[in-house]
């Protein structure tokens, strides 16, 4: 074995672990779970909560297992009286600075502090409660994210998420000692700071300090209103994660059950964002070809690479950080907003309902979609295109409230007009999916043949590496695309805004070799979105991604341009991709925003 092994004793049992393994990981290998709070697999080590302390023979203090490497001849005790007492004290201290109103907390039963307090029997308040009146003021200024300081235990997972994964730095620590707290720049409200509303902080908050702004009551109210025709759309990544809210293991596909449940909840029509994803591909693939033509044939100064626009967190990021490069972003609206614009025009016309009586609800794996739906320009249908957005988590809560036995419910199919989807629409939920779907369509439009990959699976662009790239050579193209003959189409995929930053910097210095770049704000794409079930980690996201690709393979139609409802939509309503109606309803403009 080339790797150097470390020999130590954990709870009286000999263990050999590779050099560099922490005591926390070493104990895990020995099937011993050490409790943690500030530790998160996606983030760097902090070692500040001190819940994971262990006893080491000969050491004066109890080291944090998450931050201490295993060393030769170490004798570690993970469950000694001293360790138990210390952990209990530390937990009691955390409880004393945390609001103890668990019954009215959105994260109740899904809270790491609550779980540990129960595990260690913190069954009375030993210490004096330290909360002050001003701690209970909740910041509800953002459309997407609520911040409740009374529940913050200062573990700084959100801070590390915002800095390391997203490079946004909306949240940081201020002051010291008793006054130390996690907050925004100058303690400003969340809607006034540079926050992309991606919600990754929510996914990693161990308590209820950061949550999405919830619209559950408003949705129930709309459903209960007999005057209203309530349509709901569900994003591709919801169907592979919703099960986690309802007793399934990660990676179980619950598409059919989800549709049945939504019908049971009382929605008048259950439709699919995947349909709009297919439509996005039609528009976006043609936009790419149009840009290439204008650049190569007409010699216009067209910004290449083109970048995707499906992720509202990414859009807000580029608007704040790189406002000079907004012309690189595709003008296509995201699938949610395309759907919204069509629901109150095309769909309303087809079913003969006055659009003013339509309430358009979307279920998204995302908190930024809440912000996107409320953007001022998103009303091309003549009304607010999307009225209410709820997350996968909120839908899980609604299904629980409705009382149905989700596991026993039968499968149903999406409703007509905007419910048909293809495998290409489904894979939008995973990083690389938009690119794969776009290539399946663009390649075929240009050459008349399917993409030259086994079973349509473009494997080089799948996976979870931060930035991935691929090349597709265009040969024997159709006559109208002769300007692309012999060109090697170069594409890149980035997920997580830190990786997006890397790709953007290449463009800024004029060194970007790509034609088309897909960017998703969240790690692993929408399956790791800020509205997805908690907890999240790479293993869970991998399972969700596998489920997405299985869903794609099980689909009969796997190319966006073959979606029969999309074909019908173009024939009866839109005309052609990038046509006049498309332009009015399906494309948008972006806003320059301040960097601070």
């Amino acid at each position: 074995m080339s790797e150097k092994m470390i020999n130590l004793v954990i709870d009286g049992k000999k263990a050999a672990v590779p050099e560099g393994t922490t005591l926390l990981e070493a104990a895990k290998i020995q099937n011993v779970k050490i409790p943690t709070l500030c530790h998160h697999e996606d983030l760097c080590i902090a070692g500040n909560c001190r819940v994971c302390v262990v006893e080491v023979d000969g050491w004066r203090v109890l080291p944090a297992a998450c931050a201490t490497p295993a060393m030769n001849r170490m004798k570690v005790y993970t469950n000694s009286p001293q360790v138990r007492r210390a952990r209990k004290d530390v937990l009691a201290l955390l409880v004393s600075e945390h609001s103890n109103q668990c019954t009215t907390c959105y994260r109740s039963t899904n809270c790491e502090l609550q779980d540990l307090a129960a595990e260690y029997n913190i069954d009375n308040e030993i210490y004096i409660n330290l909360l002050k009146k001003e701690d209970f003021v909740i910041d509800r200024s953002s459309w997407a994210i609520e911040k409740d300081n009374s529940k913050c235990i200062r573990c700084q997972r959100c801070v590390r998420t915002c800095t390391e994964l997203q490079k946004v730095n909306a949240l940081d620590v201020i002051n010291k000692g008793a006054d130390m707290k996690v907050t925004t720049f100058f303690d400003n409200p969340m809607n006034e700071v540079v926050c992309t509303t991606c919600g990754q902080c929510i996914n990693r908050c161990p308590t209820g300090a950061l949550t999405e702004r919830r619209y559950i009551d408003e949705i129930w109210e709309a459903i209960g209103d007999p005057e209203k025709h309530v349509v709901v759309q569900t994003a591709p990544a919801v169907r592979v994660a919703l099960g986690e809210m309802l007793g399934y293991e990660p990676g179980v596909r619950v598409t059919g059950k989800m549709v049945s449940a939504l019908k049971h909840l009382g929605f008048d029509s259950v439709l699919d964002t995947d349909f709009a994803a297919d439509l996005t591909i039609m528009e976006e693939a043609h936009e790419l070809l149009d840009r290439l033509k204008r650049k190569l044939v007409d010699g216009e100064d067209i910004p290449i690479p083109m970048m995707t626009s499906c992720s509202p967190g990414w859009i807000k990021f580029i608007e704040h950080m790189y406002p000079d490069y907004l012309a690189h972003v595709s003008s296509c609206k995201s699938p949610q907003q395309m759907f919204g614009a069509l629901a109150k025009t095309y769909y309303a016309e087809r079913i003969g309902v006055d659009p003013k009586n339509i309430v358009s609800v979307s279920v998204m794996p995302c908190s930024a979609k809440k912000y996107e739906a409320n953007r001022r320009e998103m009303n091309d249908s003549g009304y607010q295109d999307i009225d209410l957005v709820c997350t996968t988590r909120e839908l899980g809560h609604m299904i629980r409230q409705s009382g149905i036995n989700f596991k026993e419910i039968k499968n149903s199919k999406f409703d007509k007009f905007m419910g048909e989807s293809t495998g290409a629409g489904v894979i939008f939920g995973a990083t690389g999916g938009v690119m794969e779907a776009a290539l399946r369509t663009a390649y075929e439009v240009v050459t008349g043949r399917e993409v030259p990959f086994d079973g349509l699976n473009i494997m080089p662009i799948r996976g979870l590496e931060g930035v991935r790239e691929a090349k597709v050579k265009l040969e024997n193209v159709l006559p109208e695309y002769s300007f692309l003959e012999g060109i090697e189409l170069r594409v890149a995929i980035a997920h997580g805004l830190t990786n997006a930053f890397q790709v953007m910097e290449e463009i800024v210095i004029g060194d970007s070799p790509y034609h088309f770049i897909e960017i998703m704000a969240c790690p692993s794409g929408c399956i790791g979105g800020g509205g997805q079930p908690i907890p999240t980690n790479e293993e869970i996201r991998k399972k969700r991604a596998e489920a997405i690709y299985t869903e794609d393979e099980k689909m009969q139609i796997r190319k966006s341009h073959e979606n029969p409802e999309v074909i019908r939509l173009y024939k009866e309503f839109l005309g052609k991709p990038l046509g006049e109606v498309s332009h009015r309803l399906l494309h948008t403009k972006y806003t320059r925003r301040e960097r601070a």
Partner: protein
């Protein structure tokens, strides 16, 4: 450290704890919250809001801080706290 017998050891300890509460960086739980609890704790006992038995809880807490705090500051709070409370217990209560 030497103090004149006329000095109130409660005030000395109070002064120490105010210093530690202020100087804690706030990163780790034992030091950030522990310092506040020790200070608030002796105040509450002095005011009669907590029983004198609460001093035992605080001594135990100080011991935990010594063992679990991330740096020397939090680890050293117990030195002054335990020494004063154990030797001048009645001054903490009355």
């Amino acid at each position: 450290m030497i103090f004149n017998s006329s000095r109130s050891m409660y005030n000395v300890l109070h002064n120490y704890l105010e210093f530690f509460e202020e100087e804690s960086c706030g990163q780790c739980t034992p030091c950030r919250v522990g310092c506040q609890q020790l200070l608030k704790g002796i105040e509450a006992i002095k005011r009669g809001e907590q029983s004198h038995k609460y001093l035992n809880d605080l001594l135990r807490l100080a011991e935990t801080m010594k063992l679990t705090a991330k740096c020397g500051l939090g680890q050293s709070v117990a030195n002054s706290f335990s020494s004063i409370v154990e030797n001048f217990r009645e001054e903490m209560i009355y």
